[in-house]
Amino acid sequence: MKGLISEPFQKYEIPGPIKALVISKPKVVSSIIKRAKNPIFIVGHESTKVELNGKKPIDYVIRMAKASDIPVVAVSNTAREFLKRDFKPKALMASMEIGNLLTDPNWSINGKGPHDIALILGITYYVEWVILSGLKSFAYNHLKTISLDRYYQPNANWSFPNLSLKEWYENLEEIARELGVMEK
């Protein structure tokens, strides 16, 4: 075993032998982002579904994206929530569409060369599971994936374990903070 792993949130979504490494510390993520050549952020509807202390996960997404200048793809119907916050996603698509594009090593959303890191948050759990599975099998040569969802996504390269809402927020806050302070 190469590191800590966890169990799928939907219990029956059992992955193959290789499972996501658990993000043990938020710093893991921020430093991966720091080192990334061209990260991309994919954000779905679950990012707007919960709220704690007046904040939604989408708020952290925006902070992170701004801090590190990461292009955001708003998937499913999340665009409106971004716009409400005066943040214009780079593109709107279906989760399957962006998944498909990411399998192409020659594609990028910003012309800055292939994406090497995809950050994912807020896609329907089981849909994210299969899309990450698609990327795991068809983009493994050029792309690593990080799920920032509340629940363990075994097909990512890195994922949080299953977290309470509060823990999740703490983690997101910490990542956003780390990115905010970093030189860019």
């Binding site: 219990k11 989760s95 399957m96």
Partner: protein, 782 residues
């Protein structure tokens, strides 16, 4: 095709001696006015070029639902990240193989259904019973059969040749899935298309046979309305519940009721397609609802007898039936349920054993017997049986909810991860609403109640239903019964407007009830497009779900909209097998309206539909292997299909790349020139997560290279309008769809031109185009 009968009174040959026998030649394919085209009864190789053409534009994106293969004893094999199995297969080929297994399984199910139905109908109505799908208004009675097999069926027995062809091809397809066969994923996908094409032939055989024999509505836009919903069932009457897809036993129940003068004293109701088809036979039948209602309705205890035929039956139906003391009758060897086969026993004996609960159920493979037994048992059981219920009352729900520890296990096994724990908390505090809010989203799968899931022994599904009594009382709607085919005259009327793009599109809302959210989403989507004057067709569970919703005027959409195949019409074709009328209508547009040769001419017809007929399928709750084969029949015709999020588990999308210009050239059939036509339609198969996404995609996927500027402007209008409505922003790909300024919707000129300018759009000349993907359809003059 004609049936040639020859009687020979005495015959000697060198090999046989026979006396007084009669034989029937049912294998002479009568010539129509048309000579057969190039692809009569195509085999796996015949349409491969066409398939690969489509698949080069719509490349599969595989979403392995499992990274292993477990099909043979050399496995399991781990295929992730470039690994190959012990047989040499890679992940792409494996995923496409699984898709092929699924589609072949689906098509085989329809084919087997057709075989069963046809045998039974021929036995009852004779091989010469005429095919009559819509009298004089439906001259092209069997567009799929004619297109694929070259057969123009006149009688029931004429359908047998088409059916044998289906059986043979499916066996070849299944064989291709064996370990150590095909290795190329695109070839697997081509075989998937083949399965889909076969499937629509089988579907058509089913439905035109039953329409003809049972005198179902014959392409009738004014087919009557029927009752649907749990609360339409009168609890004061003996009740027979039928479940499944193969309607003959249910019809025999009705026939026996009629004979016995019991039409009004027994409730005959059903779940899934058998119910839909039964209402096509008699206005006395009622529909409970789609598959997701199975568990809750059985547990309601209203059914005194349960009769199952085949497909979409809960496999634990016997256990559930026992819980409410309702005898079960299995009518099909595909679904014996372990019950004793009593087909040869006397009716009285069987009735006695069922009524006395000697046996919890029987298998009875004779439809007429089923009719009599079911009625007799219902009458007797009703008297002695109180309506046992397996659903808790509200106080019990509240009491139980207090025991919930919110461990989350139920949510974690729920396919829709419904927030049961939170709802339990509310219920414990006396508020039933959050739990009852799950009523429409719960697909009734029962997984949350499985052994050991809830360590407190709670039954979340039952509690949801128990908390929703008020809702169930309002479960009372109207559905237009399945009208069957589309009339030739309707096709003539709409062909032009559709091909020009003036009717913005045909949306087929079909498929199962595995919805990611409320079942009402189907109706909301349908309403949106009815208002926008699309043609909305429906079938199967989706047709039911559309009815289970009231609009502002407190009407179901079937009451609010006409049943015509025209702009703003809501067309319930019928049960799942009626999907063939939807593909059939598209084929008829090419053949009747555009006068393309129909007989055995698949490529040309599909090429026509793909490039010109703005149609799209939506299977929001697609669940089964049948649904996948139905979809693949549309794919081969080049018709895009959208599925809900659970559809991602079908293991792949067929996605276009609008950013790759090279992919979007067609040939102009008149000049042979390659012409860029933009990403129309953009995808062939995609799963989306939210109904808003589906609604935005529908008009977009209705765009076709052949759209006139007026038509394109209309489609663009709906696309942009829905996009901005849901996303609050203009789409960033408008420039790909606007060819000349005339394509721009007039009411949106300003904004659109701004976008076009940003994108550096330049007007291009659109010659009036005869678009085709295949060079063989280029007829350069001179």
């Amino acid at each position: 095709m004609a049936n040639l009968k020859i009687r020979i009174d005495e015959l000697h040959t060198d090999k046989i001696i026979a006396k007084g026998f009669e034989f029937r030649v049912g294998r002479l394919i009568e010539e129509w006015e048309e000579e057969p085209g190039p692809t009569q009864m195509p085999n796996i190789a015949s349409l491969r070029d066409w398939d690969r053409k489509l698949l080069s534009k719509y490349k599969p994106f595989y979403l392995p639902f499992c990274e292993l293969c477990c099909l043979c004893t050399m496995g399991k094999c781990d295929l992730s990240q470039g690994k190959r199995g012990a047989c040499g297969i890679d992940m792409a080929a494996q995923q496409s193989r699984i898709v092929l297994i699924s589609c072949t399984l689906g098509a085989a199910t329809h084919t087997a259904h057709a075989r069963h139905l046809l045998d039974e109908l021929i036995a009852k109505y004779g091989p010469d019973h005429p095919i009559d799908v819509g009298g004089a208004s439906v001259y092209v009675e069997a567009p799929n059969i004619r297109l694929v097999t070259g057969i123009k069926p006149k009688t029931l027995s004429d359908l047998e040749d088409a059916l044998e062809y289906c059986e043979k091809e499916l066996i070849h397809l299944l064989a291709a899935c064996h370990t150590g066969q095909e290795g190329d994923n695109i070839d697997f996908e081509s075989k998937v298309f083949h399965a889909g094409m076969i499937d629509h032939v089988a579907l058509e055989i089913c439905d035109i046979a039953q329409i003809s024999a049972y005198n179902f509505p014959k392409a009738d836009p004014e087919a009557p309305l029927a009752d649907i919903g749990i609360s339409v069932i009168d609890p004061t009457k003996p009740t027979i519940l039928v479940i499944g897809h193969n309607v003959p036993p249910s019809i025999e129940i009705y026939e026996y009721m009629k004979k016995a003068g019991l039409e009004d004293s027994i409730e005959l109701c059903g779940i899934c397609c058998t119910a839909l088809d039964l209402t096509r036979k008699t206005s006395k039948a009622k529909i409970v609802g789609p598959l997701s209602h199975q568990l809750r309705f059985i547990r309601s205890g209203l059914a005194d007898v349960i009769v199952v035929d085949e497909q979409c039956i809960r496999t634990d139906v016997l256990i559930e039936a026992k819980r409410v003391h309702a005898p079960l009758i299995s009518t099909h060897y595909r679904n014996f349920q372990g019950l004793p086969d009593r087909t040869k026993d006397s009716i009285d004996e069987i009735v006695k054993d069922l009524v006395s609960a000697q046996v919890p159920g029987v298998a009875l493979l004779d439809s007429e017997k089923v009719g009599e037994v079911a009625v007799k048992v219902a009458l007797s059981v009703f008297k002695k049986r109180q309506k046992f219920k397996a659903i808790p009352l509200e106080p019990e729900v509240i009491k139980d909810a207090k025991r919930c520890t919110r461990c989350g296990n139920c949510q974690r096994v729920c396919p829709n991860y419904l927030p049961i724990p939170e709802a339990m908390l509310a219920v414990a505090n006396g508020n039933l609403e959050p739990l009852s809010n799950l009523y429409e989203a719960c697909i009734g799968c029962g997984r949350c109640e499985a052994y050991d899931v809830c360590h407190q022994g709670l039954k979340p599904h039952s509690m949801i239903v128990g908390a929703s009594r008020l809702k169930m009382e309002q479960d009372r709607f109207k559905i237009r019964i399945g009208r069957g085919a589309i009339q030739d005259t309707e096709i003539r009327a709409v062909g032009g407007p559709i091909v020009m793009g003036e009717i913005p599109g045909v949306v087929a809302i079909v498929g199962c009830a595995n919805y990611p959210g409320s079942w009402k989403d189907n109706a909301i989507i349908a309403e949106e497009f009815l208002k926008r004057k699309f043609i909305v067709t429906a079938s199967g569970c989706a047709a039911m779900s559309i009815s289970m919703y009231k609009n502002e005027d407190n009407q179901s959409l079937y009451e609010a909209y006409p049943g015509i195949f025209d702009a703003g019409g809501l067309v319930n074709c019928g049960s799942c097998v009626a999907n063939s009328h939807i593909s059939g209508a598209l084929i008829k547009i090419a053949s009747i309206f555009a006068k393309r040769k129909l007989n055995s001419n698949y490529e040309e017809i599909a090429d026509y539909i793909h490039n010109r007929v703005g149609a799209v399928g939506l299977a929001w709750g697609a669940m089964s292997q049948k649904a996948s084969s139905i979809a693949s029949g549309f794919w081969r015709l080049g018709v895009p299909v959208i599925v809900g999020p659970h559809g991602s588990k079908y293991r792949r999308g067929l996605l276009g790349r609008k950013d790759i210009k090279e992919d979007w050239y067609v040939l102009d059939g008149r000049t042979g020139k390659r012409v860029y036509v933009g990403p129309t339609p953009e995808h062939l198969f995609i799963s989306v997560e939210k109904k808003e996404e589906a609604m935005v995609l529908i008009p977009k996927l209705c765009m076709r290279p052949s759209d006139t500027t007026k038509g394109r402007a209309i489609k663009l209008y709906h696309y942009i309008d829905l996009y901005t409505k849901f996303y609050g922003i203009l789409p960033d790909d408008i420039h790909l769809f606007v060819r000349t300024k005339a394509d721009i919707p007039t009411t949106m000129k300003e904004e659109v031109i701004k976008v076009l300018e940003e994108k550096g759009w330049k007007e291009s000349e659109i010659p009036s185009l005869d678009p085709t993907l295949l060079s063989k359809f280029v007829r350069v003059k001179g």
